[in-house]
Every structure is written in C-alpha cells, then in structure tokens.
C-alpha cells in the first residue's frame, strides 16, 4: 500500500475503525493540560497542539506501574484490562523517535554479564504490538530543536504510519509492515493522487525551512567528557532548583525507582518515575550522597543525555522536543547549556 488520503470529515469514522482493533491514545485535554489520553471518538482528540505538555512515554512506561502484587498465596502480575494492542494517533516525530531510544533500553536484548538476555516484559507487552500514527509538524515552535539531532519536523523515525496534515485531509503513508497491516484493515480513506504526493513533499520542505539553524552537535559527547570537572557546571546550574519538571516532561528520561507498599502479609511492588534532579536519587544508605550538589545533578542529566547514552547506544538521548525548555520554572534552557559547552569547541579547546 502506498500513500492514502483521509478526508478530515471521515476522521471520526477512521477513529472508530481504529478503536475496534486497538486501544487508541491521542493528544487530548486532561485537567487543562494536553497529554496522550485513551480516546474513543474524534471529539476527545486535540489536533491543534503540536507538543503536548506531557510526553507520550507514559503510555508505555507509566509514572507508577504495579509490577506485581504479593500475599501468602504467592505473587501475581496484574493483567491488562483489554487484550487490544495500543494505537497512538498524532505522535510527533520527536516523540516517536524517543520510543526507539527507550526501546533500546527496555526492549532490546541486553547481554548481561552472566550471558542472559534481559528484556523488560512490561514495556514489551505494550510497545511491541503497538501501532504509531505519527504526524508531521507543519509549523514547528520556537522551542523545537529536533533538527539539532537526527530528527526533523517531518521525520518518520519511530512511526509505523506517517501522517501529513494537508488542511482538509490527512495524507497517510505506511512506514513499517506493521503500519501497512494496520491500514489494510481499514477503509475510511482513498488512494492518494500525484497532487497529494507533491503536497506532502511541499509541507515537509516548508516545515524544515521554518526551523532555526541547528547547533552543530558533532563531538559534543567527547567535549562533555573533557569538561567533567570544569567550573562551567556551577555556572550553568546556578539557577536550577532541582525539581523534576524537566525529567518528568521529557520523552526520553526513563530512570525509575522500585518501591514496595506492603501492609501485613500482602502488598505490591511498584515502579515509579524517578529523577536525577532529586538529591535522594543517589543518596546512599550510609548517608553519603555522591551527587549532593545541584551542579553535580545538572551535570549528570546533561552527561547522561549527550555523553553516556551515545557512548553506549550510539545516539543522543534527546530528540529536541523542547518540553524541558518550556516547563522549567527558572528558564534553564538546555539549548543554552549545550551552546555554552560548544563554545569550547569554537575556541579549539578540547582537553580540559
């Protein structure tokens, strides 16, 4: 199947068709903010918002997830309520790319020292069967910086179907076999015309042109490694208040804590989002904290994204969605931190 065209008047029936096969998530309003919520009809979907306040990572990696419950009878893993796989509508390129990164951590087999492979069953159960309908961004925001990395406003990385919003219709193009199979089961759309293809290409090039000039991130990881002990961290972190707004809104931050909530002989073990911005994140039982200072914690966040992760997985752990920029209560702009680090490159100083 090639590109198909979905008349926006038929969007409602398309969502109904999709709902028959999948549990559908889409951007919607939740308590005044936008996030990806389970939807059943077109009315609940916010087609306007570009970058939702909360990232869609919570669909596959929820803030609080019960891993198992226990009592004297034994251990039980909670079962999903419906057996339907997940479909996500309206995910932007920054967010769909983030899922590929998270999948490297949770989904790909990691060779453990004892030669066992580890995969996270809770992630895999939700992610592997999911279908992502991603939407291109025609008018990127001033906080968007996906073009710094390997993304772009009309990038389809991490999507199963790429959707271009062409005003009165959506132009949908399958990216993966999974996406093709999902579209094959539906009928609300028509075949695309040559005009549609031209329109899609034009939207993509206009969107790309609407973005600010990217910073050159080549060699950023090595630069950071050389700056580990520099006073620059105190400088850039001076205003940080060490809340977790950036990490919790980030589509790629994935650190978590495991906590037990027990009463008597029963209880549950819960996985809960954690943040390297919190002092307790690294607090040791002895009372010693290797990252007691704000500057050490800010450094950790930057290093993990732009040095440690690329070293291990071959790409930056940042898709340039700009949520951390928007949400920060003190306007600590990660782009400015990276530009500050990059200044060293311009000065030709690379070694300490």
């Amino acid at each position: 199947m090639n590109m198909v065209s979905l008349d926006k008047k038929k969007f409602g029936s398309f969502i109904l068709e999709l709902s028959a096969e999948y549990t559908v998530y889409a951007p919607g309003k939740a308590g005044g903010k936008t996030e990806f919520i389970p939807v059943e009809s077109e009315d609940e979907i916010d087609l306007k918002t570009l970058v939702t306040d909360l990232s869609p990572k919570g669909i596959f990696f929820p803030h609080s997830e019960v891993l198992y419950e226990y009592d004297k009878e034994g251990i039980r893993v909670p079962q999903k309520e419906t057996g339907k796989p997940i479909a996500v509508w309206g995910m932007r390129g920054c967010d769909s790319r983030s899922l590929l990164m998270l999948n490297k951590v949770f989904g790909s087999a990691i060779q453990m020292p004892d030669n066992k492979n580890f995969q996270d069953p809770y992630w895999k159960e939700k992610y592997d069967s999911s279908v992502i309908f991603g939407t291109g961004c025609n008018e990127p925001l001033s906080t968007c910086f996906c073009n710094w990395f390997e993304g772009g406003p009309h990038s389809s990385q991490g999507m199963d179907v790429f959707v271009a919003d062409a005003g009165d219709r959506f132009l949908m193009e399958p990216v993966t076999d999974k996406g093709r199979a999902a579209l094959d089961k539906m009928s609300s759309f028509t075949d695309s015309t040559e005009d549609d293809k031209t329109t899609a290409a034009q939207l993509a090039s206009e969107a790309q042109g609407g973005m600010a000039e990217p910073m050159d991130v080549n060699g950023l990881g090595e630069m950071l490694n050389n700056k580990y002990d520099e006073p620059v961290w105190e400088e850039v972190s001076a205003k940080c208040i060490n809340c977790g707004a950036c990490t919790f809104s980030c589509p790629t931050c994935h650190c978590y804590d495991i906590q037990d909530e027990g009463k008597g002989s029963s209880g549950k073990r819960i996985r809960i989002w954690d943040s390297c911005m919190f002092p307790i994140f690294t607090m040791e039982a002895s009372g010693h904290n290797p990252r007691a200072l704000s500057s050490q914690r800010v450094r950790q966040r930057v290093m993990h994204k732009y040095s440690y992760f690329p070293e291990k997985y071959g790409e930056f752990l940042c898709t340039g969605c700009g949520r951390c920029v928007t949400v920060c209560p003190v306007n600590l702009d990660i782009r400015e931190v990276l530009k500050r680090i990059n200044e060293y490159k311009k000065q030709g100083i690379t070694n300490g």
């Binding site: 939740a30 308590g31 005044g32 903010k33 306007k48 918002t49 306040d53 909360l54 803030h63 609080s64 008018e139 925001l141 001033s142 906080t143 001076a238 205003k239 208040i241 060490n242 809340c243 977790g244 707004a245 990490t247 919790f248 809104s249 804590d257 906590q259 909530e261 819960i270 809960i272 989002w273 943040s275 919190f278 002092p279 307790i280 607090m283 007691a292 200072l293 704000s294 920029v325 928007t326 949400v327 209560p329 003190v330 306007n331 600590l332 702009d333 782009r335 400015e336």
Partner: protein, 321 residues
C-alpha cells in the same frame, strides 16, 4: 528613570563598591513569557538586569539552596513585596543574617501567569512580549494582541495586599502602599461554603493532576528542609505514586508545613507544570493564621513567626471549641 534603569544603577553601585559579593536579580530569558534568575558579580552583568511583568521568580529560594550556599557571603537581592516577606522569613528563621543581605525593593504591579496569557492567545505560541504598564502586548506568528494587565496576572497578585517590600535597604521608585483588597478572600469563602462532598471532589480533581515533580516545593522559599518528608524513606511517610491518595497527602502536609510561613507569592502555582490550583489552600491557611494568631508571614522583621511563638491569650480553637 524607569525601574529597570534604576535597578541596574543600584546593582552596579553595590557591586563596584563591594557592598555585595553577589546580586540576585532577573534578566530576559530565552522565552518571552518568563524572565530568568540573574546572578550578578560584575558591573557588566548588572546591565542585563530587568524588572517587568515576567519577573515571577521569588529569588530568595537561592539562599537556602545547596544547604545555605551563600551563608558566608554578602548577597543583594531584588524583591517584589511578596519576595521581601520571604527574605524576612528566612531572616526570622535564622537561615540568613540581616546584615548579610542588601534588600532592593522594586515597585510591583503584578506578574503574569503563563497559562492566562496562553488562554488569551488561544494556545498560539508567543514570540515577543512588551510590558506597557496597564497593557501587555504579545506577538506571535500572524497575530499581535494587546492584553489588559489585570487579565493575565497571577492569582497571587489579584489577592495581594502588600505589593511593596516592607523591609528594604533601597527602593526603586514609588511604593504603592497597602492595596485594599475586598475581593481577595472571595474564592476561599466560596470554596468554604460548598458542601463537604463538593469540597472533597474539587480537592481530589485538583490534586489528581500532580505528577510528583516537586516544582512547587522547590520554588518555594519556605520549603527548605534538609530532607523533605517525601524524601524520607526510613520510615517512609508517604507513597510516591501519582494516585490521588498519595498526592493529596503530599500537598496537604506541605500546606500545613508552610502554615504561618507561606508569603502567598504564588511561585508554586506558576511553576506547576500541571496547572494545579495550589495557592487557594495555602491562602486559606494564611487566613486562619492571621485570624488565630494575628500574624502575617514575613511582614514584620521584629516579629516572631506564628509557629515559633506562643501567647497566653491566643485563640486555640482545638481546646476551647
């Protein structure tokens, strides 16, 4: 001379005459709707200081960050009326010494709440903002709007009685004096008059939004415990999930921990990424404290914080009924 020019000149003098090692102010940030904290140590840096409707941050949080990082330094600070009360409270609670702080008051006509601006632009991104006093102009792609200042002010500013610093070393312009504000308690009284079940429902809905990022706690100048109760895990006082049974407990306990200490600056509410109405409950407690103990947090540098003091004749409802 306008406030910003006046402020820059004062900071320059303080820095050049070595009256302060560091000055805490605001500068234009990377986004139009919020200024960003500025740390001035040189005269050149002083030229970046501003004061306008975007300067919402209460800078006194930095006194207690990283276990009183500036304890041995002389620090100057620019303050709105509410921020000044935080500085005073920090002094009364012996976190900083009065003689180590140079307080510079700015005449405040209120600071904006991002969500109200975005409501006015119907979600369209703002790329430029100009503070014209009674109006604020915002520009974006294909639009320009002139907004009435009152419509975009933070709810804390609508409830404000003391816009000027009551304790200061320098004041940058004309003080506004106390603002009579009959309407300030309306929201609270309306809430109080609801039936219990409605009050609970409203509270539950509000706190259910919480994602436990603790931005509210971390921007709060009165929240500076070395280890916050939510971070204690031996014993563990409270669950860490975002179920409302956990989030309500977090917010209610925080609310009570800042009783008689909350200066109602609204920083928590403006910082909240989930738009939780955090201020109403704090303001309710501040009302109670005023009513029972006659104390307004951080207003009187010669006073004692309500919770650190005891008077024989004070109203004790829980004993006397």
């Amino acid at each position: 001379m306008n406030t910003t020019d006046n402020l820059r000149k004062t900071i320059k003098t303080l820095v050049s005459e070595k009256k302060v090692d560091l000055f805490l102010g605001w500068e234009k940030g990377s986004l139009p709707l919020a200024a960003t904290p500025l740390f001035v140590t040189t005269e050149e840096e002083a030229d970046r200081a501003i004061f306008d409707v975007t300067c919402g941050n209460n800078l006194s949080i930095y006194f207690t960050k990283d276990k009183k990082q500036y304890a041995d330094k002389k620090v100057g600070i620019a303050v709105k009326g509410c921020d000044a009360r935080s500085v005073v409270l920090n002094i009364l609670e012996k976190q900083i010494k009065r003689e180590n702080v140079v307080i510079v008051g700015v005449p405040c006509n209120g600071v904006l709440d991002k969500k109200k601006v975005l409501a006015a632009t119907e979600g369209r991104e703002v790329l430029e903002l100009m503070d014209n006093g009674d109006t604020v102009t915002v520009k974006g792609k294909g639009f320009e709007l002139s907004l009435n200042r009152q419509e975009i002010l933070s709810s804390s500013c609508h409830a404000c009685i003391y816009p000027d610093a009551q304790e200061y070393d320098f004041f940058m312009g004309e003080a506004r004096g106390e603002v009579p504000n009959e309407e300030r308690v309306k929201e609270i009284v309306d809430f109080q008059n609801l039936p219990d079940s409605d009050r609970w429902e409203q509270t539950r809905v509000e706190y259910q939004k919480c994602i436990r990022c603790y931005a509210c706690r971390n921007v709060c100048p009165s929240c500076y415990c070395n280890v916050c109760f939510v971070d204690q895990n031996d014993p563990k006082w409270i669950g860490s999930t975002c179920e409302y049974t956990d989030t309500v407990i977090f917010h209610v306990i925080r609310n009570l921990h800042v009783a008689g200490r909350c200066v109602e600056c609204g920083a928590c509410e403006r910082a909240c990424p989930m738009d939780i109405n955090l201020l109403m409950m704090n303001r309710k407690v501040a009302m109670e404290v005023k009513d029972r103990f006659g104390d307004v947090a951080g207003l009187d540098i010669d006073g004692k914080p309500a919770m650190s003091d005891f008077k024989e004749d004070e109203k004790q409802k829980f004993i006397m009924g």
